[in-house]
Amino acid sequence: MNRKALIPLGIFAVLVVFLAIGLTRDPHEIPSPFIGKPAPAFTAPQLQTPEQTFSGKDMLGKVWILNTWASWCVACRQEHPILMEFAKTKTIPVIGLDYKDQNTEGLKWLARYGDPYDLSITDQDGRIGIDFGVYGVPESFLIDKMGIIRYKQIGPVTEEALRDKILPMVRELQK
């Protein structure tokens, strides 16, 4: 057999390996460049009490989750029961970011489906979302005591993600 003639086969084999690995990846998931970096600073009016504001630095010293949601977001309803259950355990504070929504609609949504958040802030023009690199709703950020983002959940929070990734990390960070 001619050695050189095996080269195309060799290249093809390498290609197949890459394609096979590619099948296990999701091309739509864009990892956050913020992991390990400080969360962007923000100050925003609260949903329930708009005259009062809330900022990221109010949470320094605590491990917490920032969860983006909206009344128009269908996938948010998927993760909502899981968040409600999680909020009942009172493990860590969960702050909601009502992204590109009308205040009245947001309040109606929470009244209808339940409010798992310690409080929610509003981001009507989406600027806070952009600062956090949000490109789809829902997205959630796990932030540590020093205000560093440790984990980003792209899409709804699932039971597996909560159990296998988020909770272990929370335990680590709270030590």
Binding site: I30, P33, F34, K100, I130, G133, Y135
Partner: protein, 155 residues
């Protein structure tokens, strides 16, 4: 007096029937041009394979709005790109950056081309020295001629 009134009325009618020249959607065409040029180098994250410049998605419109603000604040192209990359990662670049990770991407095709041409030259030169044209005897020549007569050989 009546004459002046009539004139003013006539002029008013003339002006109100003058149809407007359409206003560009952008407030400031210079800012807009720069913003479009930068957003053509950025990817729309929610769409499939579109640039930020052309996309009609909500997030794209928001991001273009932010870029417009940055352009108006006289930020440089590099600073604006940094703004986007620090929030969304390298993925948001439509044109992949030239760094060690992408050397293979940018230089690969040209290296491949040079390599291929090199082999080509070597192969063409080598087959010169290899075979000489075969010499036919009378019988073979006759057979070749009869075969050639039957086959057309266009370009």
């Amino acid at each position: 007096m009546k004459y002046w009134l009539a004139l003013i009325l006539a002029l008013q009618c003339a002006f109100s029937s003058f149809a407007g020249e359409a206003i560009p959607l952008a407030e400031d065409p210079v800012v807009e041009q720069r913003m479009i040029a930068i957003s053509e180098e950025l990817r729309c994250l929610v769409c499939q394979n579109e640039s930020l410049a052309g996309s009609r998605a909500d997030l794209a419109m928001d991001l273009r709005r932010e870029l417009r603000t940055l352009v108006k604040a006289n930020k440089s192209d590099a600073e604006i790109m940094e703004y986007m990359v620090s929030r969304y990662g390298d993925f948001v670049r439509y044109r992949p950056p030239v760094k060690p990770l992408t050397w293979m991407l940018w230089f690969g095709p040209f290296l491949l081309l040079i390599g291929a041409l090199f082999f080509l030259v070597r192969m063409v030169r080598r087959q010169q020295t290899g075979s000489a044209a075969p010499v036919l005897d009378a019988d073979q020549r006759k057979k070749a001629q009869s075969l050639l007569k039957d086959t057309e050989l266009p370009s």
